[in-house]
Symmetry: none
Subunit: 203 residues, 4 copies
Amino acid sequence: MGRVSKDPGERCRELIDVAERLFLERGYENTAVSDIVREVDVAQGTFYYYFRSKAAMLEAVVEKNLDELEMEIEEIISAETDPVSKLNRIINAILRLSVGKRELMEHIHEESNAVMHEKMERRTVARLAPLIVGVVEEGIAERRMNAVHPQEMVEFLLASVVYLFHQPGMDSESARSRRLCLAMEQILVRLFRIDEGSFSLHL
Amino acid sequence: MGRVSKDPGERCRELIDVAERLFLERGYENTAVSDIVREVDVAQGTFYYYFRSKAAMLEAVVEKNLDELEMEIEEIISAETDPVSKLNRIINAILRLSVGKRELMEHIHEESNAVMHEKMERRTVARLAPLIVGVVEEGIAERRMNAVHPQEMVEFLLASVVYLFHQPGMDSESARSRRLCLAMEQILVRLFRIDEGSFSLHL
Amino acid sequence: MGRVSKDPGERCRELIDVAERLFLERGYENTAVSDIVREVDVAQGTFYYYFRSKAAMLEAVVEKNLDELEMEIEEIISAETDPVSKLNRIINAILRLSVGKRELMEHIHEESNAVMHEKMERRTVARLAPLIVGVVEEGIAERRMNAVHPQEMVEFLLASVVYLFHQPGMDSESARSRRLCLAMEQILVRLFRIDEGSFSLHL
Amino acid sequence: MGRVSKDPGERCRELIDVAERLFLERGYENTAVSDIVREVDVAQGTFYYYFRSKAAMLEAVVEKNLDELEMEIEEIISAETDPVSKLNRIINAILRLSVGKRELMEHIHEESNAVMHEKMERRTVARLAPLIVGVVEEGIAERRMNAVHPQEMVEFLLASVVYLFHQPGMDSESARSRRLCLAMEQILVRLFRIDEGSFSLHL
DNA sequence: AATGAATGAGATTTCATTCAT
DNA sequence: AATGAATGAAATCTCATTCAT
């Protein structure tokens, strides 16, 4: 009833945060706009004051995640000097985020999140590939890495990482996770012809 | 109006085929059951006589595709003796099917098919990985390949290959397709430590 | 097409009133939500904005009726002092409402209203029994009535009244109605050991 | 597949028995004709060979129950000589059957059986009232009973008794059941001016 | 910047019944 | 006496979005 005015930036963030949580908890399709506004305690119309559509909200959620990841990666790139260490830390950062989010959705049927997962996969490749390709090219220049098609390889790498670590049972403890991390270390080493033992991945 | 009885097997196949085409053309979500029955020219109820739900139909479509692919792969496995050639032909078979289907959906907004794509991705990895792991282990036994985590590597590989499927502009001609194929060849060679030049992929 | 906003209370009442009439006229099962909204001239969604489901609407209709009846009974209880007169007027009030509603459904097949009738029967007993038991206990205290199990007797009484007066041919004129009223007077007198001639029931 | 011919009478009884059980277990509305034929293991069409419609089946189920009850009552009437004893045994017979059936539906939501309950209620009154009125008139002739409106009083009685049937928690043990039986005994005694202590009802 | 009542198209599903064999 | 594939009408409900205030 009472009309509560807030800083628009904050309102917007509040909406995105609640939306993200609900999308993860019950899936994009199973989350109604009315669920989101109920939790934030604003009117239905308010949602549309901030977001053109529900799809636009999904976009916002995904981009927010990638903003964070991108920033983290850029920090790594500028903090570290060794391209191999950069790559190691970048992959770890991606894994940590993926698995972190995954935990929220542990109990929902995979299917329920096809839409969100797809969008995430696509946008992750689109936004992160350039950064990583940069690192790989640096590695090539320093003869620490080797690749004929860095762009395509990095794309495959990212798509696989997003897919594999979005699977059920991907908590940081399971034997399956452990094996996947070890395998991924080897994959990285072999794919880019890097010295064995250069990687150490953890969830 | 007129009631046309048919062999149930055929009716069922007819429904699956039309459903598959429509799912690809306009996306799973954008295809109504009423669209399917209109094309097959049966009553709405007939659909539900054969399939418990629309989701069950999606399942049927996906499994049919994987049945075909599995059969083709099993044929390759028993026809060929060299594990490297097997792998080469298997990957080509998967690409061919994927791209074939992809052409049907050329113009629709990618997003419309998240659900179907997800299901396909997950089931492809689940059903084909065992077969390919078998080939890789054979290759390892014959010292033509090498891998510490064959299962996980094959999963990585399949996820990458399926990722291709979902790329816009994946006709057999484009420079982009060419590069992706070359990159995939390199991935195969490096992942399993196979002799350079053992692979030749085409869409 | 045009959007007409109204006081929610009024909208809600409008919907309930139309629903009640249609439920009575053609039966609960034979009334579609679309029939209701068409008459009220609102969109289908508006119905579900106010009522969670069609069943919830039935509930609302039944409770509204019992609200009215309950109020009338409470008025009688506080207006009258003699418990026997109270009981007489209460039963008359129940009969009048039952038969009034019944007239609306005169021509429909009884079966069509099993659901509504059941719900009404159950809820009538649940909501009115306490009030009437109060009156009976008052009567017992004043030695004007007598009963060992007032609660159970009142329940039987209410169930029967609702059932009997919900029968076909229960208009206020028929010989059958007349006989039933006379019998009911005697039943009341005997059941609670009240002075002969204390009751006078009319439809 | 195989076509199993059986004695038509038995087929028919088999269908009725299964239908009755399912109607009680899950309610009339929630039982599909396909559920019935699946359990009896005949084709959908076979159902319609024996019964004009699902509603006709409900009728058959109800009438079968009343046939049994009617026979039992007729037996009581001819076995016993004392009209009061007759009435006592008849009411007990009705209670026993009602409660027996009730046990089957213990767990379903009451609402689910409105249709069947209604039909049962109406038909019980219609078919059993004449028999019981006969007994009452006999009692009146012998000065063991007294009633001005035997027909209506018996209807009142039957409606009350059947109402019992549809109460939740009607096992033979509960205090509630006990109280209802005692109240019913009192109703009988008072309604027909019979000697106190003439009745003894048990579930 | 916010409200929240109202929209309305449309989708899935159910199932009693039929009928050619 | 029996089959079972096919029918098809209809009904409930969802929900993203709008718009007058």
